[in-house]
């Protein structure tokens, strides 16, 4: 009896350990699948639908200024974007399969680098789309031979587009994270500035990321108008969405990093890949999804693109 009880107990313990490993891995698989589908299927589909809607509602015959190149050029760009996202989606599913096969059969902990590396791959089609958009607007400006230029005399500043409280909150969170990282990982009395130190690297990363956000915000508010025909009202709307999105991203990044510091202490380190993947889904949503949702085509003034092409 004693021996069978012992065997039963050992079997239960082994089963519990196996289940415990499986739960966080299964959770990661589900969340990572969500990241793959959201970032490489759902969002690109929304973008492609928006592009198709523009072509259908505002065709080149009636709105020639919107098309500095032929409509076929535009369609080719859309197809390229679609194919790139399909390839990235395929890569994601292959990575998922490899994770299932390798990590599960070896009962390894899933590396948190997997969702991060895949995230950078997911962003490639979007980055290329943004670059092609710059080129597109440049062609519009070159095609614009109007001799008169118009500007609104309303001054633009940061707080015209975002609440000062949100900006202050973002600033406080950045400082909170920096303070927390130094407090948790370093003895403050022995802290020395060394570029090879992980704390210094992490702090530098968050400072650089926020400086990049600040640069993009500045350029949006004060920089040259990319679309030469865009009405000032639409431009201001677009700036507001971009600024709010970047400030929100800064808040979210800081909150996540503060939470991340505590995962080891809370015994949640095995769920770190899950948290990373969730975080990246949120980044995709805040950066692109929210923008798509806020910028409604029917609220934009497309009359400015009518008339004879320059």
């Amino acid at each position: 009896m004693l021996r069978s009880e012992l065997v039963f107990k050992m079997f239960s313990i082994a089963k519990n350990i196996k289940e415990e490993i499986m739960i966080d891995n299964i959770l990661f698989l589900l969340v990572f699948l969500g990241q793959i589908l959201f970032g490489s299927y759902f969002i690109p589909q929304k973008i492609l639908m928006r592009m198709a809607q523009v072509c259908k509602k505002y065709p080149p015959e009636k709105y020639p200024k919107l098309y500095p190149e032929s409509i076929d050029h535009y369609y080719r760009g859309q197809r390229r974007y679609k194919v790139m996202n399909e390839v990235v989606l395929g890569i994601g599913l292959v990575i998922l399969g490899m994770v299932i096969h390798y990590d599960f059969s070896n009962k390894e902990n899933i590396s948190e680098a997997i969702p991060v590396i895949y995230f950078f791959i997911q962003f490639v089609p979007l980055v290329l789309l943004e670059i092609s958009e710059f080129s597109y607007f440049k062609k519009m400006r070159n095609a614009d031979t109007r001799s008169s230029k118009t500007a609104n005399l309303q001054p633009r500043s940061l707080f015209n587009f975002v609440s000062p409280i949100l900006v202050l909150f973002a600033g406080i969170l950045i400082l909170t994270y920096i303070g927390l990282d130094i407090y948790v990982n370093k003895d403050i009395h022995q802290f020395t500035f060394d570029w090879h130190d992980k704390t210094v690297i992490r702090i530098s990363n968050i400072v650089v990321v926020n400086l990049i956000f600040a640069g993009i915000i500045y350029w949006n508010i004060y920089g040259k108008k990319l679309d030469p025909y865009q009405a000032s009202v639409d431009r201001n709307k677009s700036i507001a969405i971009t600024v709010k999105s970047l400030v929100s991203m800064s808040v979210f990044v800081s909150l996540f990093l503060i939470f991340w510091e505590s995962t080891d202490d809370l015994g949640l380190d095995k769920y770190q890949p899950v948290f990373i993947s969730l975080y990246l889904i949120a980044i995709i949503f805040i950066s692109t999804g929210a923008r798509l949702k806020s910028l409604k085509l029917e609220e934009n003034n497309f009359e400015v693109y009518k008339g004879e092409a320059s």
Partner: protein, 126 residues
């Protein structure tokens, strides 16, 4: 409230800016204390050189139509509407015309007047 400039007009761009801002002040679309965009913002929006907009703003400040308060921004002068009627260039021509008339009456030639005028402009004394 918009401002439009014509790149193909004979009128210099900075003059067009000055005229249009003065018109908006006279029409009370720009009122005392209202903020104007920064030089960089207006230059980028109109696709002009910063120096063109800076020159227009400086001349408007000289005419007490605008007040430039450094990092705080540029604002419409409290007496802008009254000062919009003052045309410094017209006053310059009238004053110089009277001076030239006096000098000619004294027997000086146009060449002497021209040399003397150049010397006065180049002198650090005035």
């Amino acid at each position: 409230m918009e401002i439009t400039i014509d790149l193909e007009s004979q009128t210099p761009l900075f003059s067009q800016l000055i005229e249009q801002i003065k018109l908006l002040v006279v029409d009370e679309q720009l009122t005392s204390g209202m903020a104007l965009p920064s030089i960089r913002q207006l230059a980028n929006d109109l696709e002009l050189n910063n120096k063109t907009v800076a020159k227009a703003y400086q001349l408007l400040e000289r005419d007490s139509v605008l007040q430039m308060k450094g990092y705080r921004g540029t604002f419409v002068h409290p007496d802008a509407k009254k000062n919009c009627g003052v045309d410094l260039n017209k006053w310059l021509k009238e004053t110089l015309g009277e001076t030239v008339s006096v000098l000619r009456a004294a027997g000086l030639t146009d060449a002497e007047i021209r040399i003397g005028f150049q010397d006065v402009l180049n002198s650090k004394k005035y």
